[in-house]
């Protein structure tokens, strides 16, 4: 098997046995990026020299054995809205084209501490606002299984880099599905952790009450390893949860008696038939393993999308206020006074970002606030209660991650409603703060289909357990996609 197709555990074995050095491994991936990325634009910045320095340091760490961990010497890519000290962080925006942070995000500091090798910064929709990288100032990242299709968004650079084997692991961020949707479209694994489990310090905010950093990888174990590394209490993030004991590994015991809920609202008519079939196949496999399937209703879900839009856009309008040309990012030279300069500077923002700022500004206006923001918060509170009630009846929820596989690039441009439909499966986890994991569960017309598991806050371990059971039971292969392969690598 090619190195690109190996999972982290296999790479770990090679590094530990000195079959390959971290520098060699890094060079391998750098070469692969050089070869493949012109077609995909998954990376905005490849930090080649830093990567080789880090790899060399990792080799020393491995040689002495001191402080070596599961990720020492393993290359990781970082979404370009996560601050990296000394490496530019553009958020795929023209405004931040030259913005180089002076500090590391906590997740980046943690990766550096364990000796992971940071390869570079991955493409996204501008400021993580979008579902296709159509909104990136650095170009659209096409789907690795069929380049006529989108790879989703906003963490599509990370998902594509992992799916094509340009990197074994990557960090994404998820505000309404930005890790899970591109992971599903690209046939890889992604986790949106419990809100507060992973520090947001250094994540350029889109909607701070919903944003969460999480891992993307090519197996359940891979995302487990990355999640374990980045999770934990951070005094720099006031919304950070108290420290939890880190799990040594994924729980592997029997699934017998585990109650799996199937929310009726997430298996409705908008779901593509083939997607439903593949997700139901997962359900059947879990039932065969002893899980108890329960159909249930989450009535609050019908309001999930409008609630998400209201809250996310309201917060976005505020998050984006700092890009006024005074202190951060580019400054427009036109404008006769400060207000003129600020206005001209903000013209540089992309259409979608501007649209969300305008809507969010409107929602927060003093005449609208009670009717929009306050009501949305009430729905959010109801939704949390609704989900809490559901979790008294079941241990976790199973649903599709998206309604359809990746749509074509043209389709996406034409049909905004289709775009919205892809988000309605994912936003609930952000609104309620619970963890959600997506894993590939088959192909539909040569494009991957993702299944989503949701669990109560803090119960990531349950998600890993079930996802890894499915992976083992179905003996999924983790081949890399490189462009226009027809047909599935995952035999059902």
């Amino acid at each position: 098997m090619e190195i690109a197709e190996l999972n982290v555990a296999a790479l770990r074995k090679m590094l530990d046995r000195r079959d390959i050095s971290a520098v060699e491994l890094t060079n391998y991936y750098l070469d692969r990026i050089a070869q493949l990325d012109p077609d995909f634009r998954a990376f905005i910045t490849v930090s080649r020299e830093q990567a080789l320095r880090m790899a060399s340091a990792a080799d020393q760490k491995l040689a002495t054995g001191e402080g070596a961990t599961a990720l020492t010497g393993i290359p990781v890519a970082v979404k370009d809205n996560i601050c990296t000290n000394g490496v530019r962080t553009t958020c795929a925006s023209r405004l931040l084209a030259d913005f180089t942070p002076i500090f590391d995000a906590t997740v980046v500091a943690k990766l550096k501490q364990v000796g992971a090798v940071l390869l570079g910064k991955t493409n996204l929709d501008e400021f993580a606002m979008g579902s296709s990288t159509k909104e990136s100032a650095y170009g659209l990242t096409p789907n690795p299984w069929d380049r006529r299709h989108v790879s989703g968004g906003s963490s599509s650079g990370s998902a594509v880099a992992v799916a094509t084997g340009m990197v074994p692991l990557a960090l994404g961020s998820d505000t309404g599905g930005s890790i899970r949707q591109p992971a599903a479209f690209c046939g890889v694994w992604g986790l949106k952790p419990t809100y507060g489990r992973v520090s947001r310090y250094g994540l350029v905010p889109y909607a701070p009450s919903l944003d969460q950093i999480g891992p993307i990888g090519r197996s359940t174990e891979d995302i487990f390893l990355l999640d374990r590394c980045i999770a934990g209490y951070d005094p720099l993030d006031p919304t950070s949860l108290p420290e939890q004991a880190a799990a040594a590994g994924i729980v592997t015991g029997s699934l017998r008696g585990l109650k799996v809920g199937l929310p009726r609202e997430l298996f409705g008519d908008s779901l593509a038939m083939g997607v439903k079939e593949r997700v139901m196949a997962v359900a059947r496999e879990l039932a065969a393993a002893g899980c108890i399937l329960t159909e249930l209703s989450l009535p609050s879900l019908q309001y999930a999308l409008p609630t998400y839009y209201l809250l996310a856009y309201a917060e976005a309008s505020s998050s984006m206020a700092r890009y006024d040309g005074v202190r951060h990012g580019k400054r427009a030279c036109s404008g006769s006074d400060v207000a003129g300069m600020m206005t001209a500077t903000r013209q540089e923002l992309g259409t979608e970002v501007k649209r969300r700022i305008l809507l969010g500004t409107y929602f927060l206006g003093k005449d609208c606030y009670d009717d929009y923001y306050v009501r949305a918060q009430q729905v959010r509170t109801w939704m949390k209660a609704d989900f809490a009630a559901a979790f008294t009846e079941c241990d976790l929820l199973l649903s599709p991650t998206t309604a359809t596989p990746a749509f074509t690039i043209d389709e996406e441009a034409l049909d905004e409603r289709a775009l919205a439909l892809t988000e309605c499966y994912t936003v609930a986890a952000n609104l309620t703060g619970i963890p959600a994991l997506t894993f590939p569960c088959g192909f539909l017309n040569h494009l991957p289909v993702g299944a989503q598991l949701m669990a109560p806050a803090g119960a990531e371990q349950r998600l890993f357990q079930v996802a890894s059971h499915w992976e083992a039971a179905t003996k999924r292969q983790t081949r890399c996609a490189q462009g226009d392969q027809k047909g599935a690598f995952y035999e059902l």
Binding site: I82, C83, T89, C91, L96, F99, P101, I102, F103, A105, R200, Y201, G202, L203, V204, P205, A207, P208, S209, P235, L236, D237, P238, T239, A314, E315, S317, S318, M320, A321, R322, Y323, D324, V326, R327, H328, V338, A339, M342, T361, L364, G365, K366, Y369, Y373
Partner: protein, 490 residues
Amino acid sequence: MNYETVIGLEVHVQLKTKSKLWCGCATTFGAAPNSQVCPVCLGLPGSLPVLNQKAVELGVRTGLALNCTIAVCCRFDRKQYFYPDLPKGYQITQFHQPLGRGGWVEVPFAAGQRRVGITEIHLEEEAGRTAHFPPEADNPGYSLVDYNRSGLPLLEIVTAPELRSPEEARTMLETLKVLLEELEVTDGKMEEGSLRCDANLSVHRPGEPLGKRVELKNLNSFRAMEAALAFEAGRQGVLLTNGAPLDREEARTWNEAKRKTVFMRFKEQATDYRYFPEPDLPPVSIDGQWVERLAAGLPELPEARRGRYLREFRLPADDALLLSKNKAAAVFFEAVLGFYNGEAKTVSNWMLGDVTRLLKEEKIGFTDLKFGPEDLAALLSFLDRNEISGKIAKIVLAEMFQTGTPPAAIIHARGLFQINDPQAIKALVLETLAANGEAVRAYKSGKEKAVAFLVGDVMRKSKGRVNPELLDRILKFELAVDEIKDIGVD
């Protein structure tokens, strides 16, 4: 004109914490521009605020001292507007659920003491400071921003509109300043901006509804505040007299150079700040037991102290007010009493009289005194024991003030003990009478004033040491004896 003026204050207090409200940056005043900054107070993308617990503590202490109900749970909100000194494009403040509500403070107005309501207190962050450099020959002018001030912790105190004159507003602000200093929650330096004040003022005819209010900004000193309010009350009064009262709320600023308020904007043009709960900061639960402990730890505040001085020491009202509102004076006063057996009123007289005069001349305060309370007590005891005269005591005090030498040492060294021996005084008097025949004659011819000259002569000779009371009696006696001699009675 018989109009009523209604004034409410918004007082911004910079809380005395070592580090800023959201980060560990220092809060030292006057540091080099942008030398006390970090990603958080620069609002760098990705940075997050972490609440300074000390600021909450100082806020709660203030709220308790202002008799506010402290929130069980308070929250922060974003107030959104664009300004170069606001690096995040919003200010983190408290709008929906402030730290405290519904308090009051006793204020000793000239017309008598009265309670003034405190509407709310809330925590917020300070913005940076913008400096503008006007165009010159070779450049088009520019502005610079210093972010040292960005993120300093502020407590805003909003008073009820219960002040009736510029003088009352000033007294209110002075009372608050004293109270805040007493609590040690702020430096309270208006000149450094650690205490700032905006005011709302409206004017109406008695019995009629309140007028449209004007918000006055830039009131940077007590004097500016009083002058601005007086100007504004007069301006609005004239408008009312002319039958064209204000029909819109507006904001005005005080122009110190022109000595007048200047229009800024109408309130309906005011920015919609689009307040919403700060998602980066979870709500702050305030533990009731912690609040109780803070309440128990509050120092005695000026108002309580004033009452005690009236009750315990039977001081006159003015003395009690003056001593109680100056913490250093109060501490010194009570320390003197610990060493002194005489009347509290005597201590108060000397402290508010001679000592205060000396302090004012040097522009220093009670904490800067070179002598201690035990020294003032000793001085007053010498006086009470008649060992020195009042005049001598003033001389001794002046030297104590200059050098810090204890009074006993000064009195011994300079031989300033009072002459209380009648024989010795008689000898001095006879000497004077013999040497000043003319004055004696003048006295005998009915010029009472000549006595003062003769007293002065004895005092000069004795360097002021003669017991003035005895001197007066002995002098008058000897003059009478002299007169009897003249008449020829033996």
